[in-house]
């Protein structure tokens, strides 16, 4: 499959994520949208890695060019999972304190 499809898909996902972050007030939805953007980037990483590998393999079948990105993606997913657990914990604490997950209430630092 041509790389363009992956790029367009990733761009769409990223834009959806951005739009969600910008428009939604629910902290959980915003959080999900952030994950969406993260995974759009992950998708790009995997797609380009595969593309490079395929190009290198065509000339040298012993080449491992680009395969390290595949590993990288796993790292990112692990880190993201850790981050999600921390983020969700924060949201839970927030709900306990102000009985809301609306980020527009989180303006206590103003003034």
């Amino acid at each position: 499959m041509p790389i363009q499809y992956y790029i367009i898909l990733a761009a769409c996902l990223f834009c959806i994520g951005v739009a969600g972050v910008l428009t939604r007030r629910n902290a959980i939805i915003v959080f999900m949208c952030i994950e969406l953007m993260l995974n759009a980037v992950n998708l790009m990483l995997v797609a380009f890695s595969k593309m490079h590998y395929a190009a290198a393999f065509a000339t040298d079948n012993a080449s491992t060019a680009g395969t390290d990105a595949q590993l990288f993606v796993f790292f990112i997913m692990v880190v993201a999972a850790a981050e999600v657990s921390v983020g969700l914990a924060i949201i839970v604490m927030m709900y306990r304190n102000i009985h809301s997950v609306d980020i527009n209430f989180l303006n206590r630092l103003k003034n």
Partner: protein
Amino acid sequence: MNNIAYLVPLFPLLGFLINGLFRKSLSKGTIGIIGCGTILLSFIVSLILFFDVKANGGVVVNYFNFIDVASFQIPFAFQIDQLSVIFLLIITGIGFLIHLYSTSYMHDESSEHFGRYFAYLNLFVFSMLLLIMGANYVIMFIGWEGVGLCSYLLIGYWFKNINYTNAAKKAFVMNRIGDLGFLLAVFWLLSKLGTANYVDVFEQASTGLSSTDVTAITLLLFVGAMGKSAQIPLYTWLPDAMAGPTPVSALIHAATMVTAGIYMIARSNVLYSLSPLTQDVVAVIGLATAILSATIALFQNDIKKVLAYSTVSQLGFMFLALGVGAYTTGVFHVMTHAFFKALMFLGAGSVIHAMGGEQDITKMGGLVKKLPITAWTFVIGVLAISGFPFTSGFVSKDEILLAVLAHSPVLFWFAVFAAILTAAYMFRLMMLVFFGGFRGTHEQEHHLHESPSAMTIPLIILGVLSLIGGFVQLPHVFGGEDFFNQFLAPIVPAVTHEGAEAATLEYYLLGGTIVILVIVYVVTKKLFAVDRFDGVYTGFKKVLADKWYIDELYNAVIVNPLDKLAGFLKNVVEKSGIDGIVNGVGKFVNYASRQLRLLQSGQVGNYILFMVLSIAVLFLVFWNQEIIVQFLQKIF
């Protein structure tokens, strides 16, 4: 011998430093000894130099390079030659007498101000010596500015009187106008010849300079001389400069500083001789100044003002002599004038001292009985300046008249007219002050006394010099030796009046002078040696007494418009223009920040929106646009 030349200005400089720095701790006696002693030492060194130059001729002594840029060099050098040693003797000799006189005249001042006075006076002598001894125009300019500064400081010596400080400012500003001309001339000279050394300039003048250059340079130099030597149109500062102490008027505003312009032109005689146009300008302006100020002097009631206008008039005579090419005669008149005008100023100081500060001659009269030495020395001065036969003034003024006659008969008759006016106002002054009856108050009459010997000794010495000072240049007809002109001949070409025709003219002048002086004596004695004199004038006399309203004219044409312009710039351009811009910037920033402050809403969503928008803008602006285009083409 010439290696001691640097001592001449060094002594007054040391005197200035000691008196200036320690004026609070030194006693008046010490200050006086330092002030006079340094000048006396300078005078002795000047005498040694004089005899050395007389025997061996002039030299240029190089000390170090004052300015040294690539091929362009201004050496700090002294030129000790016939012309400069004569001025050295005048400055240090008369300077010493006036310092001596000052120790007594200024005795009522507190010790600190006494020290300040002598420090200024020594600094003045130092600057004047620098002006005279410098071997190029730049060193001369240092002295030129120095004497202007000292003149300012000494006119405003009693700085608590606002009128005196205004007079000082006027003198300074007028001098600056002239100095600008001088400076431009030096720049012109440097750009054309690349040197300001007299020796080199005069050597290259006829080949390296076009006639336009020479005319422009000499005219600009003459503008400098106009300021310093008080010629039309820059003369009005000199009468006002009488605000200073009287010895200062004698030293700076009669004997030495105001003759700097004459020295400069005599020094540059090679240049001036190359430009007949400038010579005519110099002669005409000199003559016009001589007549104008003589007419003003006729109706002044302030003893120092009369002498001040007389000085302006005599300076006019000197420029007239320079203008007709008789440079040595101009210098000679500087010397004789220094004798008799310093004498008369010091005499006036003695009179003012005796009168308890009174300067109005309508309140004087008959002082000859109470101040005999002052009176008779003053009479000698009056005779000398009026050209009484065989006094110093007679010799120098007759020589000027003869030189003018050889140049142009029209100018000659105007010059004779000015000379008659000179005799008239001088005899009037003498009669009003020393003869007739006393017109002041009883206290003043009771207070009258002859001055102490520190004041009368300089008067006597100057009186003797005024009488016999002319004999160094007595005309051949009367058995003279022409010593002065011959001495100066290597530096300044002399105009000699030889032959039977000159002799006849001398006799005519001698006879004419005697007739005129007798008439003037009789008339002034009848009019002014009186018991009552109100000194109020009407009609044309009032115009003369009010100085032709020249000061008012200058105020109306130059000073007031400039004041108005300055006021306009201050109130309109500065207040609403410049201040408006500055305040406007401040107000705009204030307003804009108040509006921008609203962006910080505290809503996370807003911040993120701005971040996304900004990043999008950055992409558009900074990304290589071709890559984007290619990329988009590939995609779609």
